[in-house]
């Protein structure tokens, strides 16, 4: 298992994993969580996907997509500012080159059987580690995200605690809250340990991997 970062300029070359990701998102966010999202057939794509996001994907050696998350700069529109603004009360949403926003985090729990400590699948830790690596590669120091109480617990237990930006509030079927995830060596080391790897999980998507 490893992770890749997909940018808009590489979509054509990685059409298979891209398609699998949109399918996974439909299964999770529409079929399971029943969010009000744009769908066609077996895929889910929303307006934030039109903002040149970077997708981080956890991929198996067979090139199956096991999990994904979407990263957007906070200098443009973000879900926190433009969709979940009411979570913040009167406070302004973060807008900073050193802050990214993550959204659509999900792991294909039906597929990843390699469960490790805390009952979490390895894909989750690989994704968390890849998020920190991607943040560093982009020169950012923090990720802001809208998440729920359950995910907040998972992050705390994993050793990457969320710094709350809002108090939890009911949102649809869940209890939502906004918070920061900061870059730190300890958090990254904790993710590597739990993912069962010694170093970076994010591999290049260019031709070097094809040749390997």
């Amino acid at each position: 298992m490893h992770a890749i970062a997909l940018h808009t300029s590489e979509f054509g070359r990685h059409l298979n994993v891209l398609t699998s990701m949109y399918r996974l998102r439909r299964r999770i966010f529409k079929d399971r969580l029943d969010w009000s999202v744009s769908i066609s057939g077996d895929m889910e794509i929303d307006v934030y996907d039109a903002l040149s996001p970077t997708y981080i994907l956890a991929v198996s050696e067979q090139q199956e997509v096991l999990g994904c998350v979407r990263l957007l700069p906070t200098t443009g529109p973000t879900m926190l500012a433009d969709t979940f603004g009411n979570l913040l009360g009167n406070r302004a949403a973060p807008r900073d080159e050193r802050i990214l926003e993550s959204s659509r985090f999900c792991v294909d729990t039906g597929r990843t059987f390699e469960a490790s400590r805390h009952g979490l699948s390895r894909a989750t830790f690989v994704l968390f580690a890849a998020m920190i690596e991607a943040m560093r590669a982009k020169g950012a120091q923090s990720i802001v995200t809208v998440t729920d109480a359950r995910m907040e617990r998972i992050l705390r237990r994993a050793g990457w605690p969320l710094e709350r930006l809002s108090e939890p509030q009911p949102l649809g079927q869940t209890i939502a809250l906004a918070g920061f995830l900061h870059d730190s060596d300890e958090a990254l080391a904790a993710m590597y340990r739990q993912a069962g790897v010694n170093g970076p999980v994010l591999v290049g998507t260019g031709s070097e991997r094809r040749a390997a």
């Binding site: 300029s9 059409l15 949109y22 769908i39 057939g41 794509i45 929303d46 433009d82 603004g85 949403a93």
Partner: protein, 243 residues
């Protein structure tokens, strides 16, 4: 990269930079042609409001809307209920259908629209859109709606839809702007509406005439560019204007 992957990449790159309706039309038109179709059409239905971006002949599209053909167009009707990409025309054309519908297809044929592939899109909140690639060919190869072809056409349709939403439909409004846009009274009336109160209730709660409540709600609706009060409440909530 294979041709089809190249075409998709070119489309993705081009649509990032499209800023107005004409640019969107050019990008999709080129992609359609690279995929072997002469025309494309994107139709979006927001309640009663229909938006069309297409490379269909203008004489056909204006006739289409003048005669309200979106009400009987079998492709649109099917896109409203179908979950998956589908092809139409040729032998796949349903022999049934009303006389008006058969006449409609005959008419479309005279404009060079004989068969095609349509990607049905469900937006949130009951919005529906359809992205169509059309040709004057008698029939669509069945492999065009399967495998990698299907994946690409489906993503082209969805990408077109979300880019139009992001850039032409003002999906993202600057929140500061929106907040100053609505007056205190407008926010109040919308806030109560969001709580399920009727105009009569709000009149009592805010101690103004029902007529004035309607006035404030209508102003708010207009300012947020909503088609109905219900949509206006949704937009206001989404933008965090009612906190």
């Amino acid at each position: 990269m294979k041709l089809i992957e190249n075409t998709f990449q070119e489309f993705v790159d081009a649509i990032q930079t499209a800023g107005d309706e004409n640019a969107f039309e050019r990008v999709a038109s080129r992609c359609a042609q690279r995929l072997g179709f002469q025309r494309f059409a994107y139709l979006r239905l927001d309640g009663d409001r229909a938006t069309l971006i297409s490379s269909y002949p203008k004489s056909w599209t204006s006739r289409y809307f003048d005669l309200g053909y979106q009400q009987l167009d079998p492709v649109v009707l099917r896109a409203k209920v179908e979950r998956d990409i589908f092809s139409w025309g040729g032998v796949a054309r349903a022999p049934a259908g009303s006389r008006e519908q058969r006449h409609f297809f005959d008419e479309a044929t005279t404009f060079g629209i004989r068969s095609g592939i349509t990607v049905p899109i469900r937006g949130g909140f009951g919005r529906v859109a359809a992205f169509t690639l059309a040709t004057s060919d008698r029939e669509i190869d069945s492999d065009r709606t399967a495998g990698e072809w299907k994946d690409i056409v489906q993503q082209v349709g969805l990408y077109f839809h979300v880019h139009v939403s992001a850039k032409l439909e003002a999906a993202f409004a600057a929140p500061q702007q929106g907040e100053s846009e609505l007056t205190q009274r407008e926010r109040q009336c919308l806030g109560w509406t969001a709580q399920g109160k009727t105009v009569a209730d709000i009149a009592v709660l805010v101690a103004i005439a029902p007529r004035t409540v309607v006035f404030h709600l209508e102003n708010a609706r207009r300012k947020l560019g909503a088609a109905s009060i219900a949509q206006c409440v949704a937009v206001a909530l989404r933008r965090g204007l009612l906190v």
